[in-house]
């Protein structure tokens, strides 16, 4: 124990202000791992939840999205997201959202997603595959506006930004039921 105290003591002292506020039991292995600052976390925390709380500020229009899509996305997804190398991103059409059923290929585009933020989050972190993460927030808002317009989810003049995007009501929002079984399982069978 005495050998580790030399290492533990500075950590314990440093931890006092935090520990006073902490809700959880103290660390067991305080010599392992590096604390993260808020600035550290902001540099990588890009996962966006259903309410869009983590969305950065920015804005984009359908028209801007069309230009970016043609430059960055069309090579794989085809013109307006159809007839490309990948499965179609569009089902339904402007003013005519597709509302199901979603048994097969219909699931491929954003019309299937339960939350409006999902497309933003995925495009922002994973697209384009050649250089994921390279699109600026304004570009991503514009691309989402473009895709949602062609899928009949928003109107041509709607602007997507950190306030409007989470409020978009997705056509398949009610197409999902909570996980059954819940976890931990309430009763058998726990798997079906």
């Amino acid at each position: 124990m005495s050998c580790s105290l030399r290492f533990l003591l500075p950590a314990m002292i440093a931890a006092i202000p935090v520990a006073a506020l902490a809700q959880s039991p103290p660390r067991v292995y305080p010599n392992v791992g590096t604390p993260l600052s808020q600035a550290d976390i902001q540099s990588f925390d890009r996962m966006i939840g259903p309410e869009g709380k983590e969305l950065p500020s920015g804005r984009g229009t359908v028209k801007e999205g069309a230009e970016i899509f043609a430059k960055r996305c069309e090579v794989c997804h085809g013109k307006n997201g159809e007839n490309g190398l990948m499965r179609s991103l569009v089902i339904g059409g402007p003013g005519k959202p597709y509302r199901g059923p979603f048994y097969g290929e219909e699931r491929n585009g954003p019309s299937y997603y339960p939350h409006a933020t999902i497309a933003w989050d995925y495009i922002n972190r994973a697209m384009p595959p050649s250089n994921p993460g390279s699109l600026a927030p304004n570009d991503v808002y514009a691309l989402v506006a473009f895709l949602y317009y062609w899928n009949g989810i928003i109107k041509e003049n709607d602007v997507m930004d950190e306030k409007t995007l989470p409020k978009v009501v997705m056509p398949n929002r009610n197409g999902f039921v909570p996980a059954v079984p819940v976890y931990p399982p309430e009763k058998k069978p726990s798997w079906f």
């Binding site: 039991p25 392992v32 996962m47 097969g104 299937y112 339960p114 996980a179 058998k188």
Partner: protein
């Protein structure tokens, strides 16, 4: 600069892949898998499929003994056309969100912490899918490989996730984790906190060696008994939150509309039900002749331990208990054997698993009813999509000794 970001070489490979698809090849160039093959000095394999947006390896269940899948034969489903090249010296796992002490762990940190080694199966949620029965792609191998080979079993070594979460100090009110991988597609999956605290491992070792690149090098989650998408590869960020995020992978790729829910999809499917398959003799092989033959296969359950395996050699009219071979472990493949003498007549052989939750592997008829479908639906084109498909698998032996898949016959 994000150290895990894909680089220009990756882009060139991607471009080459697109070019081959555009040329009508249908298959991506071998270069897509070249990274893994280069790293391990392996030649291109049978039972592999490379497409522009995903790569798949099917485990040759018919070809190995015991329960441990050799690491290079472990199944793989990668939702991109390349593997990330991650420098383990630079790689960090961060835990943040609803925690008192956001932390970053290097590989050295993780190896310094208390470790566990446990044997668990992993399985793709789409394994044994009705859609892949009857595939005529000769490169995919035997039916037991390409129909059921998206499950494998390994000894996984690493740190219990509960240790890391305890260090970070999870807030009251937190209920889910969102985990992100460092691959190009930033594979992301949500996991209930209760399961994370129970038995989930942040694994850096597989069968005694470091993880292979296709298995998530340098670290991945292993979520025992649950569909494999929960076991995020190339793990780099864990965010503690209070609701499921339904990221792109989980909403689009890993949910499925169910007739029994009026066409709605579940947010998630968690653990697998009891399941088994006879691996030898199986479709595509030939009977050695009349007389003694050992029937062997694998059984497993996401709920726990396999307590009984039965084999029928008369199409399900009668069942006899098979021998389960040690070790019989929770949420692991269990090897079973059954001594049989083939009389040279037509026969249908199949196996049935019971687990320690008392659940019994369903027949196709029972499973169809559970899904709210009609038996005739299985004849439709395209076949209805079903995940967590664990119906009893019948193999039909003809008088000439040839064996075929008759599940949907």
């Amino acid at each position: 600069m994000d150290p895990n970001r894909s680089n220009r070489r990756g882009f060139l490979r991607q471009t080459a892949a697109l070019a081959s698809v555009a040329a009508g090849a249908g298959w991506a160039v071998r270069g897509q898998s070249a990274h893994a093959q280069h790293v391990h000095g392996e030649s291109p394999r049978r039972g592999a499929r490379y497409r522009v947006d995903h790569m798949t390896h099917y485990t040759p269940l018919q070809d190995y003994a015991g329960i441990i899948t050799p690491a290079p034969l472990h199944f793989m489903q990668q939702h991109s056309s390349e593997f990330p090249e991650i420098d383990p010296q630079q790689h960090r796992l961060t835990i943040h969100g609803m925690v008192d002490r956001p932390l970053s762990f290097s590989m050295a940190d993780l190896k310094q912490l208390p470790s566990v080694s446990r044997i668990h199966f992993l399985e793709c949620h789409g394994n044994s899918s009705p859609a892949i029965h009857g595939s005529d792609d000769p490169n995919l191998g035997l039916p037991v490989q390409f129909v059921h080979g998206m499950t494998s079993c390994s000894e996984w070594s690493g740190v219990p996730l509960s240790v890391l979460l305890h260090e970070a100090g999870v807030h009251k009110g937190a209920s889910w984790l969102v985990s992100e991988g460092g691959d190009a597609g930033k594979f992301t999956h949500t996991l209930p906190l209760a399961k994370a605290m129970e038995d989930v491992i942040v694994a850096y070792g597989q069968n005694g060696e470091p993880l292979r690149v296709e298995q998530g090098y340098p670290i991945r989650l292993v979520v025992p008994g649950w569909e494999a998408p929960f076991s995020v590869k190339y793990l780099r960020h864990i965010k503690v939150v209070d609701q499921p995020y339904m990221a792109w992978n989980e909403s689009m790729n890993h949910s499925v509309s169910r007739p029994d829910l009026g066409g709605k999809a579940r947010w998630y499917h968690f653990q697998f039900g009891p399941k088994s398959v006879i691996t030898r003799p199986s479709a595509g092989l030939n009977m050695p002749g009349r007389g003694y033959v050992q029937i062997t296969g694998l059984a497993w359950s996401g709920a726990g331990t396999v307590t009984k395996v039965e084999v029928s050699t008369d199409g399900g009219r009668s069942w006899k208990e098979a021998k389960r071979h040690a070790p019989v472990l929770p949420r692991a493949h269990t090897r079973f054997t059954f001594d049989w003498a083939w009389d040279g007549q037509e026969a249908v052989i199949q196996s049935r698993c019971t687990d320690d939750a008392g659940e019994v592997q369903p027949s196709l008829t029972e499973l169809t009813k559970n899904w709210g479908m009609d038996a005739a639906d299985w004849k439709k084109t395209p076949l209805p999509r079903a995940i967590h498909f664990n119906a009893i698998q019948p193999w039909k032996i003809a008088r000439d000794g040839s064996i075929s898949d008759v599940l949907f016959a």
